[in-house]
């Protein structure tokens, strides 16, 4: 039974078809990169999986159980966590409070929260409101928050966007460390090829609302179809 199975997902917004029969399966833990040109439907796919929007057609299953169209909070309790393209944190909560809130269902305590903050070098900001952080720091906080939820399926939407190169290294290291500690399915939408190719074990390419190809980073980078999709 696959951890995540997406079958025939279709989604239209007005006259535009965002997803046109998207299907793929993820058998087990791993870091998967989800790439594709703009308009390929990547974020829409996340919105469907995470319950932010119901698909017009198709099925999403987690560990074999049908979760299509469930509300986001129900999916969260089933072990799905996500980050957002626009980077969302609770601005008035301190960094610590943000993390404690994220991990409250798992009973994660201050010790764990502080440990993770240290891993991303934000421990000195623990008591500061999240709004006081720079964008890159907030992105780190957001992602740490998702790990506090101890998810089985983690959807990261362009985690590297807008983050300066120095923090990117910290982010990469953090993601790998977390994955080693607790293997789960990490699905990472990215446009930063350097970042995602180095991080992911497998790459899924989307184009015009469907899965175009999947394979190792090396295979995908050499694939003519993929190159055409980006250029064409």
């Amino acid at each position: 039974m696959s951890v995540l199975a997406v079958q025939g997902i279709e989604k239209r917004y007005g006259g535009v078809s965002a997803l046109a029969g998207c299907s793929f399966e993820i058998p087990g833990p791993g870091i998967y990169g989800l790439i594709g040109p703009n308009g390929a439907g990547k974020t829409t796919l996340f919105d469907v999986i995470a319950g932010n929007t119901p698909p017009d057609r198709g099925r999403v299953a987690i560990d074999g159980a049908d979760v299509t169209g469930l509300a986001p909070h129900r999916l969260a309790s089933l072990g799905v966590a996500r980050s957002f393209q626009e980077c969302r944190v609770f601005p008035e909560f301190s960094c610590l409070e943000n993390l404690l809130f994220s991990g409250r269902r798992q009973g994660a305590g201050q010790a764990e929260a502080r440990r993770l903050l240290e891993l991303v070098r934000l421990e000195s900001y623990a008591e500061q409101p999240a709004a006081a952080l720079s964008f890159g720091q907030r992105r780190l906080l957001e992602i740490v928050g998702t790990f506090m939820q101890q998810p089985r399926l983690l959807l990261l939407d362009e985690p590297a966007a807008g983050v300066n190169p120095a923090l990117l290294e910290t982010l990469s290291q953090f993601l790998l460390a977390m994955f080693r500690e607790r293997p789960s399915v990490l699905l990472v939408i990215e446009h930063n090829m350097e970042f995602v190719m180095a991080l992911a074990g497998e790459i899924v390419v989307m184009h015009q609302g469907v899965v175009l190809e999947r394979g190792t980073p090396q295979a995908i980078q050499a694939s003519e179809r993929v190159i055409e999709a980006y250029l064409g």
Partner: protein, 308 residues
């Protein structure tokens, strides 16, 4: 520990007020308590959860009229009527809240406004049940609390109960959830918060508290009249919460005291008082959005910093 002692001293002092106060002052204090109770409910909704309800006082009206009918027509005792009326307001809050909460921002405000106006219309026009515009007379004071002094203690107890509930909610996990919902509902959902349920719950709680205030009000006035539950009164409730400091524990008390006590003390005509409050509300929005509680906290911080 020091705080607890200070709080206990304050509460004791408040209960002792009748021994030292003139009937006029007592009257003012009673009204302050009666304004503070629904304000606590609205503070939980607006201040902590970010729900701008423009029809809050209508729920005070529901509590008031249910209690009135139970006590006068059904001849029920005060305490039973109170309990049922508060439950009724809470239930109405849950039902109407569930409808209103399907909307966001502008639309939420408009629906709450509309429901408030509709409820007022019913109170004003359904003569058979509500006695119409003239009001529902003959509402008794609670047995044993018929004098001004004793009613003050009753109203004070009601207010302290409301504040205790507020404190308990704010300190709890539920309180954290409310704050999260106010800051970013979408994110809260992604973190496993059942937004619809939680917002409905706080709407119901807020409405129940409004109902409590409503019952005590009409017991004090001995009449339940629609004029006590107009749109203007709902706006006053927002005023009390915002000026006092939305999202702060002491806010409703500060706001109610300011709204009721200060003008009485200054002896201005009612209209000019309200003009001043209207202007104050605008100024608060422009320059001190966290209200009195925010200003006091800021002042405290400055003093503390200077003394270091």
């Amino acid at each position: 520990m020091k705080r607890l002692v200070a709080l206990a001293a304050l509460v004791a002092a408040l209960y002792a007020v009748p021994a030292l106060a003139t009937p006029y002052l007592l009257h003012v204090m009673v009204l302050s308590c009666l304004y503070a109770i629904p304000a606590v409910g609205l503070n939980l909704m607006l201040g902590y959860t970010g729900l701008v309800s423009l029809g809050h006082i209508a729920f005070a009206g529901i509590g008031a009229y249910v209690a009135a009918w139970l006590m006068v027509d059904a001849r029920l005792g005060f305490w039973s009527a109170l309990a049922i009326a508060v439950a009724a307001s809470g239930l109405a809050g849950a039902l109407i809240g569930a409808i209103c909460l399907r909307f966001r921002s502008h639309f939420f405000m408009i629906v709450t406004l509309a429901f408030g106006l509709m409820l007022y219309s019913v109170m004003n026009n359904w003569d058979d049940v509500t006695r119409g515009a003239a009001g529902f007379p003959g509402i008794p004071r609670a047995p044993g609390f018929t004098t001004l002094e004793s009613f003050y203690r009753l109203a004070l107890s009601g207010a302290l109960l409301a504040f205790a509930i507020q404190w308990r909610v704010v300190r709890s996990d539920f309180g954290r959830i409310l704050l999260a919902l106010r800051q970013d509902e979408r994110l809260a959902l992604a973190k496993g918060v059942n937004a619809a349920l939680c917002k409905t719950a706080v709407f119901a709680l807020g409405s129940a508290l409004a109902g409590l205030g409503g019952v005590l009000l009409v017991s004090f006035l001995r009449v339940a009249a629609p004029a006590s539950f107009t749109l203007a009164e709902s706006i006053n409730a927002v005023l009390v919460v915002i000026v006092g400091g939305a999202g702060s524990l002491a806010g409703p008390a500060l706001g109610a005291l300011l709204f009721v006590a200060l003008p009485e003390y200054l002896r201005v005509a009612a209209e000019w008082r309200l003009v001043a409050f209207g202007v104050l509300l605008v100024l608060i929005m422009l320059f001190a959005p966290r209200g009195l509680a925010g200003l006091i906290a800021e002042g405290w911080r400055r003093v503390a910093r200077r003394s270091q």
